[in-house]
Amino acid sequence: MSASANLECPICGGEVTLGGDTLQGELIECSDCGTELEVTSIKPFAVAEAPQEEEDWGE
């Protein structure tokens, strides 16, 4: 498992901590502003605001 990391929330600039076991695409909440963030990549770590539209599913 890679080490954990601290990132900046893209919405409020607050600190976001990602543990070593974080998954690609995992959804986490910014503890400061509560925005739902998506872990868009894990090597290196990166987060972005999660898409907000209604539940999507395929065939």
Partner: protein
């Protein structure tokens, strides 16, 4: 204009459907599935279908690139071409197309499916999406020159990438775009059953409102089927008929009142 949807079930009487259609005067477009065939192929190749259940209870196939390859072999390949062959043998000059061909069915890629895995909430992205528009000009061009379109997934997304999609959604978008007046859906049951284990419990008529109600009482794949049926019935087609694709004359019976009518 009739949209004929042939499910992918292995016990459907395809020969009966096609020979009936040869006698139909109205123009028609066929949309077909091939899930039984795809599942068999996936098993034979040792590449099983991956299914995800989203947080809100819908189950769906996880379509990675390999799964889309499988669609191209089973749906737009084997099933489509054997169906076109059968049409030709019944005097129907069929042209088989996937949604990619001539961009005949265009869609939008799903933004992602929210799934929970060992306690973690995750967005999973794959090659699947919703149909949004249809190339009516190409379909008209073929129909007006005596050809019968036979459509299958995959469809094409906003970045010209092949994506999986739900046949019921495609039928809805197609019926609205081309102004179909009837949608015939052939399944491996007499029609819509009150109790799915009792063939006698056929519901002959369902209003759209009733359909929305029933949708809340079921889960997963069945719920999605019902939602798609409701959307199909809201696309302007005068009647959606769900009837038994296993009988000797599936189309003839459906056009003379057999099965369930949603209107």
């Amino acid at each position: 204009m009739i949209i004929v949807k042939i499910g992918g079930g292995a016990t459907l009487n395809i020969e009966g459907i096609i020979s009936d259609l040869a006698g139909v005067d109205e123009p028609f477009i066929i949309v077909h599935g091939a899930n039984a065939l795809r599942d068999q192929l996936a098993e034979d190749l040792g590449r099983p279908k991956k299914v995800l259940t989203s947080v809100s209870g819908y189950t769906s196939v996880f379509s990675d690139a390999d799964a889309v390859d499988m669609l191209m072999m089973a749906y737009s390949g084997l099933k489509n071409k054997r169906l076109v062959e059968l049409c030709q043998q019944n005097g129907i000059n069929a042209v088989g197309l996937s949604g990619l061909d001539g961009r005949v069915v265009q869609g939008r890629r799903n933004k992602g499916i929210r799934v929970r895995e060992n306690g973690k909430l995750r967005i999973v992205r794959d090659f699947s999406g919703k149909p949004k528009s249809v190339n009516v000009q190409l379909l008209r061009l073929l129909l007006d020159n005596g050809y019968t379109p036979v459509l299958a997934i995959p469809i094409i997304d906003e970045n010209n990438v092949a994506i999986n999609s739900e046949n019921d959604d495609i039928v809805g978008v197609l019926a609205a775009a081309i102004g179909a007046d009837k949608i015939l859906q052939f399944i491996e049951a007499p029609g819509f059953l009150e109790d799915k284990d009792d063939p006698g419990s056929l519901v002959e008529h369902i209003s759209k409102a009733e359909l929305a109600l029933r949708e809340q009482q079921v889960e997963g794949r069945m719920r999605r089927k019902m939602l798609a049926l409701r959307k199909m019935s809201e696309c302007g087609a005068s009647a959606v008929i769900i009837s038994d694709g296993r009988v000797q004359h599936p189309v003839r019976d459906a056009l003379s009142g057999a099965g369930t009518k949603i209107a």
